[in-house]
Amino acid sequence: MNLNTIGREVPGSIEGIGTLRPFEGAFKRIPDGVMKAPKIPCVERGGDKILPSLKDALKEAGLRDGMTLSFHHHLRNGDYVVSMVLDLIAEMGFRDMTIAPTALFPVHKSIIRHIESGVVKAIQGSVNGPIGRLASNGGLEIPVLLRSHGGRARAIEAGDLSVDIAFIAAPSCDKYGNINGVGGSSSCGSLGYCMADAMYADKVIAITDNLVPYPLYPVSIPQIYVDYIVQVDQIGDPSGIVSGTLKITRDPLRLLIAEHAARVIEASGLLEEGFSFQTGAGGISLAVAGYVKDMMKDKKIKGSFGSGGITGFFVQMLEEGMFDALLDVQSFDMDAVRSLRENQGHVEMSASYYANPHNKGCAVNQLDAVILGATQVDTKFNVNVNTESDGVLLHGIGGHMDTAAGAKLTIITTPLLRGRLPMIVDDVITVTSPGETIDVVVTERGIAVNPMRHELAERMKASRLPVVPIEKLRDEAYRISGKPENPKFTDRIIGVVEYRDGTVIDVVRQVISVS
C-alpha cells in the first residue's frame, strides 16, 4: 500500500484492474504516449447495416466471453437497453463481461442477477442504489472502477478503457446509422456521454425504436462510427427518461444556502459580462441559478454560456437572452430537449469536449463558476459524493471532479446536517474531489473559504458574508448532532475512485454488516 499525496492508501495493483497510479495532485500528471485508435473499418458498398435482431447484431459483432461492453445513460431511469442486451447475452450463454456504463440507475437492478450468475464480472462506471449496495457488501469479485464523465472519455481515448462493443440507445436513427436524441418517442436530447464510445469502440451497435429515412439530421453520432442497427419496439419508458419541469426548492433552509452561494458568486467579482456558469438540477442548485439570474438582470449583464446537464431553467435564460449559448452534455427535461432541437445557441457537446483533461481543451476550463453538492466535506475541503455516511457506495462521480478542477470558482452547497448526520467532518469517508479544487463551502450556518484562496476570503468578508473557518462549521455540526462513529470496513477493496487524469484518488472498502 502506498499513500497518495492526500494521504489515502492506494495499492500498487489490483487483480482484474491492473497497475494503479497514485494521485499526485489535481494538475500534476502529464500524460505520455499516443491516443488509442480503433481498427480500420470497411463496409461493402450497398451493404445493409440493419440486422433483423439484437442477437444477429451480437453475433456479427463477434461477441465472446470476457468482452468489455459500453452503455450510456441518457435514457436515465427509463432505459430498457442495458437490461435488453444483458438478458440476451445471458440467454446466449456468454459470461465474464465487463460492463462500462456512463451511469446506472435503479431501473438496472436486473444486473444483480447477471452478476450473481457470472454473466457480468466487472463494472467500470458509476454504480448507485441496489448495485452499489451489492458492491459494498462484497458482491463483485473485481472492484468497481469509478470514473468521472471527463475521466471516462479520457480513459477511452487513452486506451485505458478499451471497449469491444458499444451499445448506443438511439432515439432516432436512419438506416445508415446517423443518430440523434431529439426525435422519436424516446427522445432524450443530448447524446454527449456516448460519443467517445462510438468513436473508439471496435464495434458499435445502434438500438433504436425510431428508424427514419436517410439522411437523418441533425446528426449527433454520424454513420461513420456505426456498424449495425437493430430496430426494437421501445428503447425506453418516456416517463423515466426526462423529468417534468424541475421546481426551485421552497425549503427555507435550502433557499438560504442558495442565496449565500449566489452572493458568494457576486462577491467573487466573476459576475461580469460574459459570465459562464454551471449548476446541477437539484433543488439548491436551481435556486442558486434563480438568484444569479436576478443579479444578472439587476447588473444588466449577459452571460457567455451555461453548461453541463441542462434544465428548462437554463433554457429559459438562453431564450431570454441572458446566455449566448448552452453547452449540453445531457438534457434533463422536455424543455431542454425541445431547445436542443430548435435553438442554434443550444449546443450538444461530447463528454470529452465537456471535461476530458487530456485533450486540447475542455469546456470546464472555460467555466467561471460551478455549484456542486456533496454527501460529505472535510476540514481539508475534500469532498465525498460517492459513499453515504454508512460507508456504502451509492453514487457516481458525474462531472463533480471535472468541473471542480476546471472552474475558476467552485462552490459546494450543503446543509450542515442531513437528518441527524453532520455533513462537515474531520475526514470524509471517500475522497471524490480533492480539497485543492474546492474554493468555497456554503452552509446555512456559515461560509468557509479554502485557506489557499486568501484573496477570495477577503472579498467575501468585504461583502459582509458570514465567513467562518471550516473547523467552526464542523464544530457546530458536531455540537448539534454529536460526532458520529465512522462506519466499519473490512480490508477488502470493492471500489476504486479514479481521478480524472487516470490516477487513483481513493479506494472504497467493503462495509461490515449492512442491512
Partner: protein
C-alpha cells in the same frame, strides 16, 4: 443603548423540532415559538416540553426569543408559563387579549415564576396580541396595563372574523385596528407590530403592505415564512440618503446648541423638534442594523 429591532417576528410551530433547531439562522429580529394555533389539542403537552428544552439547548443567534402561549382562559396557558420561563426567554406573546386584566393576570404569574426560578423580576416581557373587537376597543388600556409590555400586536384573521369583515389584499378592513394598535403603542411607549401577510407567493403584495405599515409608523410585522424576512428588512432599513440627511440634522442641531442659537435651519428649512425626533429614530434604526 442600541435600540432592539422588531422588524420581523417569525412564527415557528412549537411541535416541529427541525424548524425550531434552524429558526435562528434566518436573521429574523424575533422568533415566536408557537404553542397556540400551530399546535393541535393532543400535542399541547409534547410541544410544551419540546419548546422548554429548545429554550435551554438551541442557539437562536441574535434573535429575540418569544413564545406564544395558550390563552390564560384555556387549561394550557398557565402550564405553558411554568414550563417555559428561563434565562433565554425574552418575551411571552399573550393571545386573545381583551382587557387590561388579562395582562395583569399574566404579570402576577410571571412575578411569581421568575422569583421561583431565581430570575430577575421583569426579565420576561409581555407582548399582548389583540385579535377581537373588544381587544381593539381596549387597546390603550391593554398596552398600558404593565411595565413589562414591550410590543403590542394584532391578529388580522381572528379580528376580521370577529368583526364580520372580509380579509382583502388591500386591507381596508384593518385600517381601524392598525390605527388603534399604533395609538396604544405610542401612548404606552412600546413597539407596534403588524399582523401576518399570508400569501407567500405574492411578494408584491407583501412589499406594498410593508411600505404601508412603515408609513403608518409600525415597528415591524409578524411573519410565517423566512422568505419574507429580507423584503421586510429592506423596507424598514433606512437608505443611505435618509441616514445622511438624519446625520446632517443632528449635526446642525448640535452645532446650534453649541452656539446657543434658538433657531436652526438646514438647506433653508427650519428644523424643529419633530424633525429632530424623526432623525434620531432613523439613526437609531441604522445603528441597530449596523449601518452607522
Amino acid at each position: 443603548m442600541v435600540r432592539r429591532l422588531r422588524r420581523t417576528a417569525l412564527y415557528i410551530p412549537g411541535n416541529d423540532p427541525s424548524m425550531i433547531l434552524n429558526s435562528g439562522i434566518f436573521g429574523a429580529d424575533s422568533i415566536v415559538l408557537d404553542l397556540e394555533d400551530a399546535v393541535s389539542i393532543n400535542e399541547k403537552d409534547s410541544s410544551r416540553i419540546l419548546v422548554r428544552n429548545a429554550l435551554q439547548n438551541v442557539d437562536f443567534g441574535a434573535s429575540e426569543v418569544v413564545v406564544r402561549i395558550n390563552a390564560l382562559s384555556t387549561p394550557f396557558g398557565k402550564q405553558d408559563i411554568e414550563a417555559i420561563v428561563c434565562p433565554r426567554l425574552d418575551a411571552i406573546r399573550l393571545p386573545k387579549c381583551e382587557y387590561a386584566d388579562d395582562i395583569m393576570e399574566l404579570e402576577k404569574i410571571l412575578d411569581r415564576v421568575e422569583e421561583e426560578k431565581g430570575l430577575k423580576k421583569g426579565s420576561v416581557s409581555i407582548m399582548p396580541l389583540i385579535e377581537s373587537a373588544m381587544g381593539s376597543y381596549n387597546a390603550v388600556q391593554i398596552a398600558k396595563a404593565s411595565r413589562r409590555n414591550s410590543a403590542v400586536n394584532f391578529g388580522g384573521e381572528d379580528y376580521t372574523a370577529d368583526m364580520g369583515a372580509q380579509r382583502t389584499r388591500e386591507g381596508a378592513e384593518l385600517l381601524d385596528i392598525r390605527m388603534r394598535i399604533l395609538l396604544a403603542a405610542r401612548i404606552a411607549g412600546i413597539d407596534a407590530l403588524d399582523t401576518v401577510f399570508g400569501n407567500l407567493n405574492d411578494e408584491e403584495g407583501l412589499l406594498e403592505e410593508t411600505k404601508l405599515i412603515k408609513q403608518l409608523g409600525f415597528d415591524g410585522k409578524s411573519i410565517i415564512h423566512p422568505r419574507q424576512i429580507r423584503l421586510i428588512h429592506d423596507v424598514f432599513t433606512p437608505s443611505e440618503k435618509e441616514i445622511n440627511k438624519a446625520r446632517r440634522i443632528i449635526e446642525a442641531i448640535e452645532e446650534a446648541e453649541k452656539r446657543k442659537s434658538g433657531v436652526v435651519a438646514l438647506d433653508g428649512r427650519m428644523i424643529d423638534a419633530p424633525v429632530v425626533a424623526k432623525a434620531r429614530r432613523v439613526l437609531a434604526f441604522a445603528e441597530a442594523v449596523g449601518l452607522v
